[in-house]
Symmetry: C2
Subunit: 193 residues, 2 copies
């Protein structure tokens, strides 16, 4: 019941991260717990009966979150044979289409933390889908490439993802799908600083 | 580089999970790396110049992912003073509106793994916003409640979230916002098993 670690000083890392660590003595933004790692029985119910969602029901942001969970579930079921999740798929596509990509580029493109990109690429390397190659112009850096297995897997997975995405949007007309994409693209305009 | 554990038999759990465990010999769904934990300079660019996004540009699922990252960034910036992330906020709202809620209920409602809900509630408890209370009807279980600080924080945070959500959708008319929510609610119809 007690919480004895809440005020423990953060273990400071070295180098340029130290400044960041000082600014943020403890992680203010714990990782998003993300969707269930095993499908819930019957799948995610966006409106569990008898549950009061309060303000969440009125938020555009929560409507997007609900949709994202359902899409994630269908994606993962569709690609189960390759154990490819949405971030893994996005990484494979970006790596395949953009030569000489570095880890920091990948993180920036996918909108994830560098530490998240490290975990992602480690998993893809362990699955023998991605390899790190020394970068010609910088000995300390490396570029990401697909392995031959990675190329074959991506081709097959891509067809499965296209079919999955068609299913996700199958209740919408083509016009509605275009409207949806357009409306999504207009969300969250950057704040003036 | 090698992947020596991919075909290792799973440590089988008991009961109904055994069948599922056999189908999924190792964690096929590494945690979603999630959005950046520190805002990228200038924020997330959904279309980084000179990057080829390939099939991603055509997917409804990736359009949602792009929107979600931008919304997440604005949310986190808007609630920085309380260190409240979207999942933390959702959890606080659900706990505040639903008495006698258990951890497994919370996980199911939010569409996250139980392990993710544990981390989430641990963080909220450490922040002194949520407490675990023994459940009257089951000595081994407990219910989640907001602390007095949690109640005050939620009231303030709720106003900030409403303002954030209004900003997120500020480029859309009310009619367009309603259309967006309606289209989102029709995505990813459950698969016939």
């Amino acid at each position: 019941m007690s919480s004895d670690s809440s005020d423990a000083p953060a273990g400071i890392t070295k180098g340029t991260r130290a400044a960041e660590a000082r600014r943020k003595p403890r992680d203010p933004l714990a990782p998003d717990p993300g969707p269930p790692s095993t499908g819930a029985e019957g799948g995610f119910d966006p409106h569990v009966p008898d549950i009061d969602y309060g303000v969440l029901d009125s938020l555009v942001g929560y409507a997007i979150r609900r949709a994202q969970i359902r899409i994630y579930e269908d994606f993962v079921a569709s690609l189960a044979q390759w154990q490819i999740t949405p971030p893994r798929f996005s990484a494979l596509v970006i790596i395949s289409r953009n030569p000489k990509l570095k880890l920091t580029d990948l993180a920036r493109i996918l909108g994830i933390a560098r530490s998240g990109a490290v975990l992602l690429v480690d998993a893809l390397e362990e699955m023998n889908l991605v390899a790190r190659r020394p970068a010609a112009e910088d000995r300390r850096a490396y570029s990401l490439v697909l392995t031959p297995t990675g190329k074959r897997t991506l081709e097959a997975a891509k067809q499965a993802v296209i079919a999955h995405d068609a299913h996700v949007a199958s209740a919408l007309t083509e016009q509605e799908q275009a409207t949806l994409k357009s409306l999504l693209g207009r969300l969250a305009p950057p704040r003036a600083e």
